[in-house]
Symmetry: C2
């Protein structure tokens, strides 16, 4: 017997998804997450086909539990990547960015479950119409790529829950059991955590990245490239340079020149820990992260905290 | 016997605050709110001293329940206004914008309770140090004036709850009992709702304003004047004009000229319902507002929905 609709749909014990993230959700983190009873996710955003193949092989070798592959649809070879992982036997696909009407036919084979990340009610309704199995509602507080709609988790989740019948997953601003309980109260059937899972022992992120998340306060993230990129990162020297240029009215071309290759900057942050020049994608929930536990410790703690948060809700008498 | 710490502090039945709002939280709304068992708040932001006096007199005539006065500390005559209302016997003051170290001595007389609106952990800690009785944490999704920190309710509330011992009130993105339950799960002791209370029978706002909130979807608000004003309003022709000017790199001076007198525009929205030129302050929770009930109906519904949300939280089995 599973805990709720999302657990039933995905075949997992706890209604928690470890988010797919560029560079830092390789098989090491994803297998640990799946083995801990949540949905581990390999993020293939920056992987070449051989790396994709290796990561999926490692997943099958290291866990017998369900796991997902996250494919950002902005990739030129997104369809090829989808075929590659589906041919290898992957059963759960998470997609983001792009039109569900075009994505679903690419990834929806018999027995395959598809979840799509949305920033709005309109996007969620479209997903349901096109046959997506569950929507992940990502609020403005989330790390990484963000929607110009800027709708927050608190506002977005209940509105989406009212608009669709498929399971709803809340993402953005959640890093502990209190956030989980809040998401369920808002009408979600599960939660997706990204930032919190970077700061774990098993994650392949640089130690500097993990420690930076631990050290970042509530106001320590910012939107980089608001005019065109909408990327939530931890404030650092490079983010300040970009912010100053934007404030002084730099054009999109000037900003892109300043940024040059965001992929390299993200790699420099994720793997090399380049504190000055890297782009450290992370959410506003960084301020809730105070340690670097194992994934199993983290998951057990989330469940304990969730139960405490549930029990702490006051009975309001009339 | 009261329901929780915030109810005890304020002497109210339900841990809900009706937000003080410029133009649209006069005595009519505030008295109805207090009579319905929540904390009614008169917002004196746009009132001259004679209007302040009249509103407070009407409050004492129309309710025997506790109520608050919200004084934006940006007002040049904030200290005089505070003295006026305190001399008239007001016992609860809500302040926003400004340094608690300067505000508390102005408003903290024996038997007076002071709450301050904060956008960050740092602000909340400072409030506690200076003797503020409770903090209202306002997230980025809230209507009206907003912090450039842009921290959302979901991320802000648990971080503040961890940092202070005084009661914490969550504001921003909350318009129903699900949002209330979410706020409590995050560690809040109460909630403040603004947008939801505008769309009530008793509120003096124009019918057009109320209907606009009902009609606004999840993505229907925007930040006006991000470079200097940070005001969340409902998207309309004027907001689009400002957005275009900002996108094209207009200077702060040019934007201010375009905006001219924000007070007049807000009045035009609030009282005259000028859909094209007014600034309709409202939060992302507008998308959760579907009707215009009486305040008493709304409060009873909030409590029912809260109970349903509590009961809907899944027990997660190990």
């Amino acid at each position: 017997m599973k805990n709720n609709r999302l657990c039933d749909l995905l075949g997992i014990r706890y209604p928690i998804i470890q988010a797919g993230m560029v560079w830092v959700s390789t098989w090491q983190l994803a297998a640990a997450a799946s083995n801990a009873g949540v949905l581990g996710t390999v993020g293939v955003g920056a992987m070449r086909p051989d790396a994709v193949k290796e990561n999926i092989e490692k997943m099958f070798q290291n866990t017998d539990k369900p796991f997902a592959v996250n494919i950002p649809m902005l990739r030129a070879d997104a369809a090829d990547t989808a075929n590659l992982v589906l041919d290898m036997g992957v059963k759960i696909i998470i997609t983001s960015a792009g039109n569900p009407a075009k994505i679903v036919p690419l990834v929806k084979r018999p027995g395959v479950t598809v979840m799509h990340v949305v920033p709005s009610v309109r996007g969620a309704v479209k997903c349901q119409k096109e046959g997506v199995d569950a929507v992940i509602c990502e609020g403005f507080e989330a790390g990484g790529h963000n929607s110009p709609d800027e709708t927050t988790t608190m506002a977005l989740v209940p509105q989406v829950a009212d608009a669709v019948d498929i399971p709803v997953v809340a993402a953005g601003g959640i890093a502990d059991g209190r956030g989980m309980a809040a998401a369920f109260a808002l009408g979600a059937h599960g939660v997706q955590l990204g930032t919190r899972f970077i700061a774990t022992q098993e994650c392949n992120a640089s130690q500097a990245y993990k420690q930076l998340i631990v050290d970042t306060p509530d106001t320590g993230t910012t939107i980089l490239g608001r005019k065109y990129l909408m990327l939530r990162v931890i404030k650092n020297a490079f983010a300040e340079t970009m912010a100053q240029a934007e404030k002084q009215g730099a054009s999109v071309e000037e900003l892109e020149k300043l940024l040059r290759d965001e992929g390299s900057r993200n790699k420099a942050a994720s793997l090399d820990g380049d504190l000055e020049n890297g782009t450290f994608q992370a959410g506003q929930s960084s301020g809730l992260v105070h340690d670097i536990p194992t994934v199993a410790e983290l998951v057990q703690r989330l469940i304990r905290e969730y139960e405490m948060a549930m029990q702490s809700l006051p009975v309001i008498m009339d």
